[in-house]
Amino acid sequence: MDFPTINPKAQQFDAEVLSNKRVGSYNHMVFSVDEIASYARPGNFVAISVGGPGTSMVLRRAFAIYRATVKPDGQGLLELVIAPFGNGSTWLANRQVGDLVNMVAPLGTAFGIPTEPVRALLVGGGYGSAPLFALAEVLKARGCRVDMVLGASSAAKIYAPLEGKRSVSSLTITTDDGSAGTHGRVSDVIPGIIASSNIEIIYSCGPMAMLSAITNISKERGIMHQCSVEESMACGIGVCMTCVLPVEGEDGVVRMTRTCIDGPVMDGSKVIWTKSREIPDGVWGK
């Protein structure tokens, strides 16, 4: 049997901070890496150890890859968008140019790219926009039309850099407090865009409740939905079993499935979006 395993390109290495800039509520950080950058696909993530020597933080933190590029001289760059939140992300956001951090990358599944040009809607919540810009570029290069919706609690939490916006045909912003764009949630504006742009596929990344709401919308309309989920991860490499979601497999059986290996990008229609804190009935081995 060929059981699922981690991204075959994943390696562990130290990466140097090349740049660290505050953008709204986030830190945009650039790391110097080697050719590993060429293996990263939109949707992949990195797992970073945080805290330095003597830290009390024993677990890595996962961050979506915002952009991965290889410069003509062969130097690879990995860019991340960090929301300083708890001790781990705050430590990372405080790294200075020249500091080294230990990474494992690239990890996880990537967004599937259609072979034909399609009309795609990309939906990001908060820092969930991070992996969408690189995805938009790939889609544009394939001749796709790309609409984008970004939502957050307030304006400062919308991450949408200029150069990113260039690759999308339309950008709609929603904020819970109305401080930017439409006052409301992404799910309020998505149906309209689907209709007006004749969307064929939705790509999303953000809080689980958002992904679940988008799944409902896409299922109703029979639209494909690839979402990047975010479950608490202790290891990021498939060895701890903390990051699971109930997901229907190809054999129709619902299993508690590791989102660090079989995700973070998953087919939204296969995920059983129950309340967390419960194993849904019918899950294998319940």
Binding site: I6, V58, R60, V239, C240, T242, C243, I279, W284, K286
Partner: protein
């Protein structure tokens, strides 16, 4: 003189004393991307049960100061699929295999032992008795001398004489030496110390316990002093019973500490989550420390902290 890093536990021999900890190495395949599994003393598999198991609902983990809580709930495919799918691949890797089993009843342990008995090439059996006994109000087998004994006896009767039995105990008991004596008396050839401590984290935002099952198992460096104490106590009480030590080992120094306390080999668990190559780093550091301290045989360091204290400067 070359340093002899090999070790043995109740007839099971390992080329070096660094093993993975049960439940912390996936199926093995994931880690094999970071180092050849054959570099390990052995791989200890996740605890496998009779039937497939979904495990607990999420959230299943919470980070804690120098540690973490988990309540995976023994998710796994059940013994049959496990023996069919996981074990053949591991054998191909040339790594010694310690199968960990877990049951919900004494009969489960008997069934599991019989299944494993039929499999060639298993180096040892780790018997995780830190599981709730559904026949006894869900009390953990290893929390009660009688049920601990019954589970191990059931394995002993069914495993045959080939595969050494290592009983894995919980530290959440008033006197761990009492349970240790009981299971050794029931036929355990060695002991694995320690499993996680029962803990809880409350999410101060939701104001509910963070884990879906409320409590979880505490692991990582936070618990190392408890592991060292348990290993030291049990080694003092049962000097002839080999111990597979574990609990918060994140460096060669830490592994050495458990060895000095009485561990014949050391399992690495939580540290692998922070560093996929942890077992290899620890292995190398431990070898260096042993050599630096003047040991020619790794085995001479086992339980070394129990020697009489000298008068000199110590």
């Amino acid at each position: 003189m070359t340093f002899d890093f090999s070790t043995a536990m109740a007839g099971a021999r390992f080329s070096n004393p660094i093993l993975t900890a049960s439940g912390c190495a996936g199926s093995g395949k994931e880690l094999s991307q970071f180092f050849p599994l054959s570099e390990l003393g052995a791989i200890v598999t996740k605890s496998i049960m009779v039937k497939p198991r979904s495990g607990r609902a999420t959230p299943r983990m919470a980070e804690t100061p120098s540690g973490m809580l988990n309540s995976i709930g023994l998710q796994g495919p059940g013994i049959d699929q496990f023996l069919e799918n996981d074990i053949p691949w591991l054998k191909e890797q040339g790594v010694k295999i310690v199968i960990s089993i877990a049951g919900e009843s004494v009969e489960d342990y008997a069934v599991l032992a019989r299944k494993v008995r039929g499999v060639a090439g298993i180096t040892a059996l780790e018997v995780n008795i830190s599981c709730p006994n559904v026949e006894n109000r869900g009390q953990v087998f290893a929390c009660n001398p009688t049920t601990a004994r019954e589970a191990i006896s059931a394995v002993r009767r069914n495993i045959g004489g080939e595969v050494p039995i290592i009983a894995k105990l919980t530290p959440d008991v008033t006197d761990i030496t009492e349970i240790a004596r009981e299971v050794v008396d029931a036929g355990a050839d060695g002991l694995a110390l320690i499993n996680t401590l029962l803990g809880m984290v409350i999410d101060t935002n939701t104001m509910f316990p963070k884990l879906s099952q409320k409590t979880g198992g505490l692991s990582g460096p936070a618990i190392r002093p408890v592991a060292v104490r348990a290993i030291y106590q049990v080694h003092a009480a049962l000097p002839d019973t080999p111990i597979l030590g574990m609990g918060g080992v994140a460096s060669g120094r830490d592994a050495f500490e458990l060895v000095l306390a009485g561990a014949s080999a050391v399992s690495v668990g939580t540290a692998t989550f922070g560093n996929p190559a942890a077992a290899m780093v620890i292995k190398q550091e431990l070898e260096e420390i042993c050599i630096q301290r003047g040991f020619v045989n790794f085995r001479d360091a086992i339980g070394f902290a129990h020697r009489a204290e000298g008068g000199d400067g110590e």
